[in-house]
Amino acid sequence: MSKFKVACIIDDDPIYILTTKKIMEQVGFCEEIIVFNNGRQAIEGLSELSAAGRQMPDVILLDINMPVMDGWQFAEEYKQLSLPCNADIYVVSSSIDPEDIKRAHLTPCVKSYLTKPLTRSILEGVVNEQRGGDAGMQSES
């Protein structure tokens, strides 16, 4: 039972990408997964998808610390692209700095802040939130 059609992972850590993909498959998170290794790639990739008229992601899992273009910059540019996509952005980071959490909640399009490691239960929570629409998602390992 796939809850999302297309999920997008933007992260530079291959182990995280691998494990997250695996957990997504296990919990039936989505039908298709798109991966970008930094913000710049993601902006360009999403623009191309949009231009080709392809299916845009429903949900984006966004890392903060990335080379070339970090998560914050991505969020800023993503907003200005005004792509025909209505994705919920989840900021996913190892940082437990309250400043980062505060900033994430103040950034437009960002739905919530999730702390790594991203476990099965957290992703299930995201799915449930999508389904229920309201259950607050704030996780701590």
Partner: protein
């Protein structure tokens, strides 16, 4: 002055009135009015007219107003005209028809050869008076001459009047062609006197009208003398006429009486003068006394001032800081020893010399400050920079203010300076040190953040990888290597969590400080550790008063108490009945929380402050991680408190935690 004017005006009116009555007598032919004494010569019409004109003239002159002067001039002109023509008639023998111009004179007699013509004496008198009156408004020379003319008239009319009194018939003629009437003579006398009074600064008038002592005396003496002589003369004549005494006797007694009266007068005057002199001397003495008094007062004040100046000087010189006292010209009055040393003036004579002479490098800015202060301003600066002549930097704290010689008089300046170069340099040093440590602290924090963040992502990856691995290979869950792998991963996560906790402290503590009830927090912690305490048979006693509160962060206070209680239980001694006593007391602005146990204790000589270090464990306990006390100390210090540990091997340990009271 006004009294004299009054006298002149009243007299003028009197003269005018009498002569007017005489004129009426002539018009209505009343004999009594023409001659005051029946059988005596009467006053002529022209004489009466001249009297009226002259008295009117004097009246107006006495008013001292410009427009009145012209009226006066005219009236006097009238008199001069009539008298001038009459005098001409006498002199030439020609009848100019002035005598009976106005009214006919019916008195034909030997003694009246020219009917209606006024006496020559009168005519001459009016001529002199008239010309003199004109002169009163002229220059000084004219006025002086006018006064002499008045005096001549006074004398003449006096002589005529006296002749009447003494009944000397020859006097009436006075070797002239004919003579004045008696009342004419009196009126002429009065008229000439008031004319004289118009010029108080000239002739005899001055003698009688002056305010000086001599004049006062003359005024007193003259009338008495005058009447005495007249009276004596009259008596002498009467006695002679009635042949009461012989001529010799008469003259002798006249002389004797005159001398007697003079003597009395002189005595009286002398007494008066003496009295005046005494009064003057007394006044002088009083003045002298007053002056002497004043002088001694001034001397006393000067002395006092000098003494207070000396006191000030001693005070300034003995002052332990750099103080100097200046007069209003910026000359040194005094300077303290510290001043001499601070400004390198030792061995120099500076008292009495100008500040600007000693320090020629002093600029206009300073001179302006000095000037302002000399006008009453107070100037100060707590940090002023100077470049000394030798190029070194000097920092001064200074204060310049006026000192007051008396309540309103500024006596000069007081200058106080302190060399704070040393302090200033120290301050700068401390400031730069602080900046360095702040920067280091910041870098350390960043470092800790990055380390903890990176560690977290790796450990997170490891734990998720393990989880997925076990999910795919559930049969390996009991594999010893995998089990240890899981344990290692868990430990790593925990260590990183602690590390994060330490990093998180110090960031936003002060905002979240609250007033918390210490007793309740201890109770809650005791409940948390109750199972562990029971297992180790440790008795925990909360002796903290129910009303004791501290300013703290909730989570920190919880964590601190919990950590210390856990420690106390963990290191309890198996050899005795274990207890933990918790007390609180007030220490200044702190609450001292002491947690005392009778556990295994530590040798503080060996351990010292390292007990609060990170990852230090001092017991063989397998679950000692060495992070708890480190976090505790960080939390206490982040809340503005401190923590001390007292311990003795095998006796027990006491933690003393100082927390802000409010």
């Amino acid at each position: 002055m006004e009294r004299e004017r009054q006298f002149i005006r009243v007299s003028a009116v009197v003269i005018f009135s009498i002569s007017f009555i005489v004129l009426l007598g002539w018009i209505f032919d009343i004999q009594l009015f023409e001659s005051a004494f029946p059988g005596y010569k009467g006053m002529k019409v022209n004489t009466a007219i001249c009297f009226m004109a002259c008295s009117g003239g004097v009246f107006f002159y006495a008013r001292n107003e410009v427009k009145d002067a012209w009226r006066a001039h005219f009236l006097v002109f009238l008199s001069v005209l009539i008298s001038g023509i009459t005098v001409t008639e006498y002199a030439t023998g020609i009848d100019l028809y002035i005598d009976e111009l106005f009214i006919k004179d019916n008195n034909q007699s030997v003694s009246n050869p020219y009917p209606g013509r006024m006496a020559f004496t009168s005519a001459a008198g009016f001529l002199l008076l008239g010309i003199g009156l004109w002169g009163t408004t002229g220059r000084k020379l004219f006025r002086s001459i006018a006064q002499m003319m008045f005096h001549v008239v006074t004398l003449a009319s006096f002589v005529v009047g006296t002749g009447y009194i003494f009944r000397v018939p020859t006097f009436q003629r006075l070797s002239f062609f004919n003579s004045m009437a008696f009342h004419s003579a009196l009126l002429m006398l009065l008229l000439s006197i008031i004319a004289s009074a118009l010029l108080p600064q000239f002739g005899f008038a001055r003698l009688f009208m002056d305010r000086e002592t001599g004049s006062v005396m003359a005024r007193r003496l003259f009338p008495i003398m005058f009447f005495a002589v007249l009276a004596l003369g009259l008596i002498r004549l009467q006695t002679h006429l009635f042949e009461v005494v012989t001529v010799e006797m008469g003259i002798t007694s006249y002389g004797a009486l005159f001398i007697l009266i003079s003597l009395l007068l002189i005595q009286n005057t002398a007494n008066r003068l003496n009295l005046l002199d005494r009064k003057r001397k007394q006044a002088e003495a009083e003045l002298k006394d007053l002056n002497a008094n004043l002088e001694s007062k001034v001397q006393a004040q000067t002395k006092e001032l000098r003494e207070s100046n000396i006191r000030n000087r001693i005070f300034v010189e003995m002052a332990p800081s750099a103080i100097a006292m200046f007069d209003t010209e910026m000359k040194y009055i005094a300077a303290s020893q510290a001043w001499m040393e601070d400004y390198g003036l030792n061995g120099q004579q500076i008292i009495g010399r100008s500040h600007y002479e000693i320090f020629p490098e002093i600029g206009e800015d300073w001179k302006q400050i000095h000037r302002a202060c000399l006008k009453g301003a107070v100037n100060k600066n707590s940090e002023a920079h100077f470049k000394r002549a030798d190029g070194t930097d000097q920092w001064l704290m200074w204060d310049v203010r006026p000192w007051y010689a008396s309540e309103n008089e500024i006596g000069g300046l007081l200058m106080y300076t302190a060399d704070i170069t040393e302090i200033k340099n120290r301050k700068e040093e401390v400031k730069s040190l602080l900046a360095v440590s702040v920067e280091q602290n910041e870098r350390l924090k960043n470092f800790a953040h990055i380390v903890s963040h990176n560690l977290r992502s790796h450990s997170g990856n490891i734990s998720v990888l393990l989880e997925l691995f076990l999910h795919e290979h559930p049969e390996l869950a009991t594999n010893e290597l995998i089990v240890h792998q899981l344990q290692a991963s868990e430990n790593l996560k925990e260590t990183i969590a602690h590390l994060n906790e330490v990093v998180a402290i110090n960031t936003t503590v002060l905002d979240s400080m609250k007033q918390l009830n210490l007793h309740l927090y201890i109770e809650s912690a005791m409940q948390n550790v109750a199972p562990a305490a029971a297992a180790k048979k440790v008795m925990i006693n909360n002796h903290v008063g129910r009303d004791v509160s501290v300013a703290a962060v909730e989570a920190y206070l919880d964590s601190i108490i919990l950590n210390l209680l856990t420690n106390g239980i963990k290191y309890s001694s198996a050899d005795r009945v274990s207890y933990i006593n918790i007390n609180a007391s007030r220490e200044g602005s702190y609450i001292l929380l002491s947690i005392e146990d009778n556990g295994v204790g530590m040798d503080m000589k060996v351990i010292g402050d390292k007990i609060f270090g990170m990852y230090k464990t001092f017991h063989g306990n397998s679950d000692a991680k060495g992070i708890g006390l480190f976090i505790t100390r960080n939390q206490v210090e982040a809340m503005g408190g401190k923590v001390i540990c007292e311990s003795e091997q095998n006796v027990g340990t006491t933690f003393k935690i100082y927390l802000k009271h409010e």
